[in-house]
């Protein structure tokens, strides 16, 4: 009897337990929401993660924000933000966050998404900073990460020095990866940090890396003044307009969420990642006076490049290739190290009035030696020379339910042929047709001779160059549990590209119906079709013809929050590609994830088991994997085999977190994995991550 009563009480307690979540889980969910938008191995969501975890602890006050902070969250559309700001101006301050439900372009789901990061308060936050306060309330954070080499790779073979000295197939260092980071932050106002990293294969305190780590990055960053909005010293990131003239970090490409078509530039940010080429090194300041703003920045850093001495003019050296990988493992890679100095100086002047913003920008980029890449027909319009200038104009305006945005940019350089002075432009609109439907359009026209080294303009290709296209996307919610996303993109590449020996064109479209009857259960299906033209691999005659390549992706995804501790996720995805010369190929992946995050336990777990079977590397599939904090992985799955990983996080001593992750690929039909230096003999490829974080 008593026993039964206990069971009943237990069960009742179970049922009525609220699904309260802790901070890391809330942020993790949003990060997954954002990372879902990526389809590449190269992602870095550090900034989003930092932004979210900061705003979790210091919620944005909706009664005082002008919208900038809300844009930084990356979770809202600009129409929703201007809706919120306008409503407050018309009807006065908010009393509760649920008042947002009465706004035309907000719904309960959006409110739930941002609720942890915002608050409604009558009082203005005090942003006055004293030194004492900064020291007392500041946060110190240290990361130590170790990723050992698990399987022996060919490049680490023991060979005599004489062999190694003349070969590019052997690495000098060991196969482990070390990473450490130290950072001090005070709210979002002050950040001081140092990051250091050694990649696999690089030496440590030896040879080319006498200073220890191969890559060091440091910054001092201040934000929050009235006239001096922010100042950066050391390594930093710059974002301007829509990413056509200048954008030093990465940005979203085409995603299933139309809102990401519009870039929200954060003029100046501290740089904390380990990408060894995409950042600025120097000084920058962002000033404000009334409605005007001025961002001024200067950067000078060395980049990897191979130098060629011109035999006719002996003393004249020039650069033939730039190497952006940041790896220094072999003789060749080491010889390229810091081969070129890159100098950048730029300014962005902005004006805003209400919801209208406009900016003018100019950026100079120069090298200490001429950069003359090999002349090929396809790349003949690329930048060659020593000095380069970009001028741009960008705008954005929100009017009622319409947000328009765009940028026009012109490039100049000192190229002898004088051909490189192209234009690039993009214009877009996001329209809320109804509270339940939004629609977006983006037109872009980037000329073949437009060039900008740091850019992130909306494009199908990898660069803001040689492309013309029209994108249209929508997002709609029905009154039931159903909603639907989709987009269409038609594009043309007016000039040749690498691997495409003729002007080409293509299209892409995506449709994604979603069924979400409640907060804990969601199913979606996604279909994506893409056609791009590439060189044919079988043909008769002397001229390489191009042929269309059709790719189709089908995905079925289910996620279910079983109870407050367990989350269950399944996914099936299939890809097919077809072209005349390669025929028909397919690939599939089947993943099962289980996340265990009990409320009052210092340990949480993430577990995956996956099977994949693809006909070739071309039919590979990408899948987001859970990893230690700040480690982002969206690996490609290809060939045939299984994948499993286990991630454990253990929090101890109040200030420490330890992540241990072991993952393994077991290939079914191969005895050798990869080729060349990276070759592994065997059918197993595994990885281990150990990471410790100490905060105080």
């Amino acid at each position: 009897m008593t026993r039964a009563a206990i069971v009943i009480i237990f069960l009742l307690g179970w049922t009525f337990q609220s699904f309260a979540q802790d901070k890391s889980e809330i942020i993790q969910q949003r990060i997954e929401f954002i990372s879902e938008l990526y389809q590449s191995e190269e992602i870095d969501l550090t900034t989003f993660l930092e932004q979210l975890s900061y705003y979790y602890e210091h919620p944005i006050n909706l009664n005082f924000t002008e919208g900038t902070e809300l844009e930084e969250l990356g979770l809202l559309t600009s129409i929703q933000i201007s809706d919120l700001v306008l409503h407050r101006k018309l009807f006065g301050k908010y009393i509760t966050i649920y008042e947002l439900q009465s706004l035309s372009y907000w719904d309960l789901e959006t409110i739930e998404l941002v609720r942890p990061f915002v608050k409604v308060d009558d009082k203005l936050d005090n942003i006055h900073i004293t030194f004492k306060e900064a020291l007392e309330q500041g946060k110190f954070e240290t990361f130590l990460r170790y990723q050992p080499m698990m399987e022996h790779k060919q490049a680490y073979d023991n060979v005599p020095d004489s062999v190694q000295a003349i070969s590019n197939n052997y690495y000098y260092g060991n196969g482990d990866r070390y990473y450490s980071r130290f950072r001090y932050t005070y709210k979002t106002n002050i950040s001081v940090g140092v990051t250091a990293e050694k990649d696999a294969g690089e030496q440590f305190f030896k040879g080319a890396q006498k200073k220890g780590f191969d890559f060091y990055s440091a910054h001092v960053f201040f934000k929050g003044g009235k006239y001096i909005r922010s100042v950066a010293l050391g390594d930093y990131q710059v974002q301007i307009g829509q990413g056509i003239t200048f954008w030093s970090s990465y940005a979203f490409g085409k995603t299933q969420d139309i809102a990401t078509a519009k870039r929200t530039a954060i003029p100046l940010k501290a740089y904390t990642s380990v990408d060894e080429s995409r950042f600025m090194r120097g000084v920058a300041v962002d000033l404000a006076y009334k409605r005007f703003g001025a961002l001024l920045f200067a950067s000078s850093k060395k980049v990897d490049a191979s130098t060629v001495a011109d035999s006719i003019y002996n003393d004249l050296e020039f650069i033939s290739t730039l190497d952006l990988s940041g790896l220094h493992r072999t003789n060749r890679e080491i010889s390229k190290m810091n081969g070129l100095r890159e100098n950048i100086a730029g300014a962005n002047l902005t004006y805003h009035q209400g919801l209208f913003k406009a900016g003018l920008s100019g950026v100079y980029q120069g090298y200490d030696k001429p950069y003359l890449k090999d002349m090929k027909i396809y790349n003949q319009f690329d930048f060659r020379g020593q000095h380069h200038l970009n001028f741009g104009m960008d705008y954005s305006y929100n009017y009622k339910n319409v947000a328009i945005f765009g940028e026009v940019s012109k490039a100049y350089n000192d190229n002898l042929s004088g051909m490189n002075s192209g234009w690039a432009m993009m214009h877009g609109a996001l329209i809320s047709l109804d509270s339940r439907m939004s629609f977006g359009l983006v037109y872009r026209d980037y000329q073949r001779d437009y060039y900008s080294f740091y850019n992130a303009g909306f494009s199908e290709g990898s660069n803001t160059q040689n492309e013309r296209g029209l994108y249209a996307g929508f997002k709609m919610k029905f009154k039931t549990a159903w909603s639907m996303n989709g987009y269409v993109d038609l594009f043309k590449f007016p000039w040749l590209k690498y691997g495409v020996d003729a002007p080409s064109q293509g299209h892409e479209f995506l449709i994604q119906p979603i069924y979400k009857p409640n907060k804990i259960f969601e199913i979606y299906f996604r279909f994506r079709q893409q056609v791009r033209e590439n060189n044919a691999s079988n043909y008769a005659g002397a001229v390489t013809p191009i042929e269309p390549n059709l790719q189709r992706n089908y995905r079925f995804n289910l996620s279910y929050v079983i109870n407050e501790a367990f989350t269950f996720k399944s996914r099936f995805e299939m890809v097919t590609i077809q072209s005349d010369s390669k025929g028909f190929q397919k690939g599939m992946i089947f993943t099962q994830d289980l996340l265990w995050k009990p409320k009052s336990s210092p340990i949480d777990l993430a577990l995956r088991y996956a099977l994949f079977d693809t006909d070739s590397y071309d039919t590979r599939l990408y899948s987001f994997e859970n990893n230690a904090l700040y480690v982002f992985a969206v690996p490609a799955y290809y060939y045939q085999g299984s994948r499993a990983y286990l991630l454990v996080r253990y929090s101890f001593l109040r200030h420490c977190d330890l992540w241990v992750r072991y993952g393994v690929f077991l290939y079914n039909n191969r005895s050798v994995i990869s080729s060349g230096a990276e070759q592994i003999n065997g059918s197993r490829k595994s990885d281990l991550v150990l990471q410790l974080r100490i905060t105080f």
Binding site: L433, D434, M437, A472, F474, M476, L490, Q505, F509, Q529
Partner: protein
């Protein structure tokens, strides 16, 4: 040479893109929504779904014109009229496509009936004339068309239409028949301002097409429309304006990546409800 080239382009285009010999979508409103129009009710429903005409409460009449890919040989003119009777709606329509060396024409009548508030039915008979003067002559054939329209909720409709269910034979040579097209579509009305439609169309000779369209009215009298269809990929955009609430001027264009623009316009008189 030039003429030969032109003829081959026309031949290619008319056979693979434009005309499945027997049916061509018409009316600027429908075209601007990528012809995801099997559930839409207006006088142009004559050419899309005879059942949808059953919802006409007052009479209407319209003319339309389209020029495919800006080629003068690929022009199309059409007409339709619908008159509600005490029971049901009677309608007539005409469409002509081509030029002196190739012309197809369809003319016919239909009858549509509301079986209940939730369900409509329509049938149609059309005569098709195909004229290839250079030695081939003229043919006349009759086809039968039918459609259904069902209302799931007041804002959500499903429609079905079939063109040439009779599988009419054009000539005994190679079993040449007029094409048969089946369409199944749906539309959802978010608000008075916003209508979204989606449709699948199977032409017996070609791969299935998926089509979607949006109609948005930022003001009472002004409409903006856009649409997208696959196989072949086509994008559409169009505008509509209502003069004195009764005269509707709609225009728009379709866009094909390889062949370019196809502007269209229609003028409709629709007696106000």
């Amino acid at each position: 040479m030039k003429i030969r080239l032109l003829v081959s382009i026309v031949g290619l285009v008319s056979s693979s893109f434009v005309f499945g010999q027997g049916w061509q979508p018409v009316g600027s409103r429908s075209r601007s929504m990528a012809d995801a129009s099997v559930t839409l009710t207006d006088v142009w429903s004559y050419h899309h779904n005879p059942a949808a005409l059953a919802k006409m409460e007052k009479w209407g009449i319209g003319i339309a014109y389209e020029n495919r890919f800006l080629l003068k040989e690929l022009q199309s003119q059409s007409f339709s009229v619908a008159v509600p009777l005490k029971k049901g709606v009677v309608s007539a329509g005409m469409q002509s496509f081509g030029y002196t060396q190739f012309r197809s024409m369809k003319v016919g009548m239909g009858y549509s009936l509301k079986l209940s508030e939730l369900f409509c039915l329509g049938v149609q008979m059309n005569m098709h004339q195909l004229r290839l003067p250079q030695g081939y002559g003229v043919s006349w054939n009759a086809t039968g068309e039918a459609g259904l329209l069902a209302q799931i909720t007041p804002v959500w409709n499903v429609g079905f239409a079939v063109v040439n269910f009779t599988r009419t034979k054009l000539s005994d040579y190679q079993e040449d028949r007029l094409t048969t097209v089946m369409r199944l579509g749906t539309s959802y009305r978010f608000s008075k301002k916003l209508l979204v439609a989606g449709e699948a169309e199977k032409n017996i000779d070609y791969p299935i097409r998926a089509k979607a369209g949006i109609e948005y009215l930022p003001a009472d009298k002004f409409a903006i429309r856009t649409g997208f269809a696959t196989s072949p990929i086509e994008m559409n955009v169009g505008f509509g304006y209502a003069f004195k609430n009764q005269f509707l001027l709609d225009f728009g264009t379709a866009y094909n990546q390889k062949l370019g623009w196809s502007p269209n316009v229609s003028f409709t008189y629709q007696l106000k409800k």
